[in-house]
Symmetry: C2
Subunit: 405 residues, 2 copies
């Protein structure tokens, strides 16, 4: 019998208790791990809920109990989640978490603490919700040099962009609908500004390239500037618009960024819609692969946490090798990154095309009948710095979106 | 330094040597495993190829060398692949293979032998080529009760079906083109009759449900009866036709089958085209997930083998827990399986519909303008046995395809 404690009985925490309870026998049969939740820590009371029997309000009860081998941190936020994690690891307990903020901010230190204490710090649920991605990256794809990781890593923004594409609604209306349906928070900033996806791509990139990637250095743009007119252009070229979190190995170095991009139909990410997430991985031997599933939600996320808990139970007092080196990966500066760009310009294509070509070289022109008085171009691949300079010089420049093709 | 031997220097075997050589430093940096190929076993000579330096013709050289800890079996076929695997395991060497035939036929025995000798028998590359699916099933999804595994597991048939859909070509022409392009073998039977997919779904199902699934009991149909007219009907209802290998947990029991099915656009398998493979997995907590990538090919398959080799190198003389119980899973008989069916019927829908409805109950009617003199119906969900009886009674019955929706 392995005893676990769950910190935080919110959405994910209560999901973890539900998965461990509902699937107890199946987990035991498949993995041999007989896991019991000995404590649930929460400041609140839950009268009438079976959790009452194991509810405690003082973390010290957990950290000082030598019977507890596994601590599940599903509190969210940096503090006291970080502090409790650190204390649990120092007390020789493996910690499993869905808290991407703590992993992105303190992962280096906590992985070190886990190792020093002969236990593990596991965070499969921190990226892509229920999608198994961290374990495959660290254990199946070890034969490959990873060349690219590109994910639709945030369900809220993908839901909003899917709504905008399906219904022609504005960003504001789609956001309101997402909030009404429980797919966006009252304060949606972390999602719609890309901060959530930024932390996730930093974690995935650290594992893929083997060195710590600091999320603060990942160029991050959200989806607040995407309009229904942009969607019309995307449809005109057969593309969809997705918030992509990308990191890529180039001959100049590795870069990482989060930004909305147009995605072509041939791209496996093209048809990842609604609250689903997907992570595309390219290896130098494997070629292209993709992992798809529920990126959020109580039970899918809890399923991923429990996957970690089971692994921890099977490897008590061992340090599982899902980690990176603490030395920071120096990311390529944005100016040196090459992309293609979709650019909207005021005026008529006939009149302006020679001026545009003088600035951008050869371009493809896109027009949408309903959007008179403007046109758009698709540039050839160019460095971000060169694009910024070109945009500056473009008379009637309206807006741009990067292309993922 | 960990010493490995590769049995068979064919497509996959030479790929394994290439991956281990090309990515040697990256593997060592990411995983700490310093892996050297000490021997390659092949009956042939390879004059001028660097492999000459390590080429041997006698398996005893390998099995009797205590320095060799890992044996890679990429010979294909049942014998002597099975015999060499057995001997290597008994000599205390972990075996990694891409050979689905041996795993499906002798997996029970070889997993037992591995365990008895304190080593592992690993076969990530046996299903889905480079797609990491076995490790996620066994290590990430342990918190879930797996309810369904459905895969496009054979690149040859998926290439043929994609060609037929894209070009309107016949099965025979698409097969010839696949052979000309190296995507189908001169003797394509194992692929087009579904035998290859059958072995793969038996392996995946054994892992997903935790008990040995005997591939000989998996109902298997190939794609040889699919015509360009079927494709026209599929397009008329917006569907694609895929060879799906499925196993599913129902209230009556677990069943497994391989057969062509119509797939709806909302299904993540819908747009898996060409030689790509994908595996859809549904867990009772995780919900829907999908793993997508190169299902075959030298380097993708070799990448999966090397993932196993690295894991083996990190866990020398341990039995990794990617296994199933040897007691056979009793599969639900086909007659008790529920499916929906697409049925083509000679005659006119107007005249025959009341007779059809008397047999099948409520159905949807599909017609294709070019295909006069016939029509098709989509049935409600019904048991296979009931469908077989209904088909028998259907005057002018032409053919049927199951629906995956």
């Amino acid at each position: 019998m392995v005893k676990a404690a769950v910190l935080g009985f919110g959405t994910v925490g209560s999901g973890v208790v539900e998965v461990l309870t509902t699937n107890h026998d199946s987990i035991k049969e498949r993995s041999g791990a007989d896991i019991e939740v000995k404590y649930v820590l929460d400041l609140r009371e839950f009268p009438g809920n079976p959790v009452e029997k194991v509810l405690v309000h003082d973390f010290n009860t957990i950290v000082n109990d030598p019977e507890v081998d596994i601590v599940v941190e599903t509190m969210g936020g940096l503090h006291p989640a970080y502090d409790f994690t650190k204390a649990a690891l120092e007390a020789g307990k493996t910690v499993c978490t869905s808290n991407k903020a703590v992993v992105a901010e303190f992962g280096n230190e906590l992985l070190e603490t886990a190792k020093a204490n002969g236990v593990s710090y596991l965070f499969e649920a921190s990226c892509g919700g229920g999608i198994p991605i961290i374990r495959p990256l660290c254990t199946s794809l070890t034969g490959d040099v990873i060349e690219e990781v590109t994910g639709i890593l945030n369900g809220t923004t993908n839901y909003i962009l899917t709504k905008m594409a399906d219904d022609g609604s504005s960003f504001e209306d789609a956001l309101k609908e997402a909030q009404a349906n429980g797919f966006a928070e009252a304060n949606p900033e972390a999602d719609i500004e890309g901060h959530d996806a930024c932390r996730k791509i930093a974690i995935l990139s650290s594992l893929a390239y083997g060195h710590f990637v600091d999320f603060k250095e990942v160029q991050t743009e959200g989806i607040t500037k995407i309009t229904s007119d942009d969607i019309k252009y995307a449809k005109a070229i057969g593309a969809s618009i997705k918030l992509l979190a990308t990191s890529r190995r180039t001959t100049d170095g590795i870069y990482a960024m989060v930004s909305p991009k147009m995605v072509a139909p041939s791209d496996p990410l093209f048809s990842v819609n609604g609250v689903f997430n997907a992570i595309f991985v390219r290896g130098n031997m494997l070629g292209d692969s993709m992992f798809y599933g529920s990126g959020a939600g109580k039970l899918p996320t809890a399923s991923a946490v429990v996957g970690d808990v089971v692994d921890a139970a099977k490897h008590l007092h061992q340090t599982l090798d899902m980690t990176w080196r603490p030395e920071k990966l120096e990311l390529l500066g944005l100016g040196d990154v090459t992309n293609r760009f979709f650019v909207r310009v005021n005026g008529s294509a006939e009149e302006k095309l020679s001026a545009i070509r003088a600035i951008y070289g050869d371009v493809e022109v896109v027009t949408v009948p309903e959007l008179s008085g403007e046109f758009a171009i698709l540039t050839a691949p160019m460095k971000e710095a060169a694009f910024a300079a070109a945009a500056e010089k473009t008379e009637g420049f309206i807006s741009f979106i990067r292309l993922n093709f």
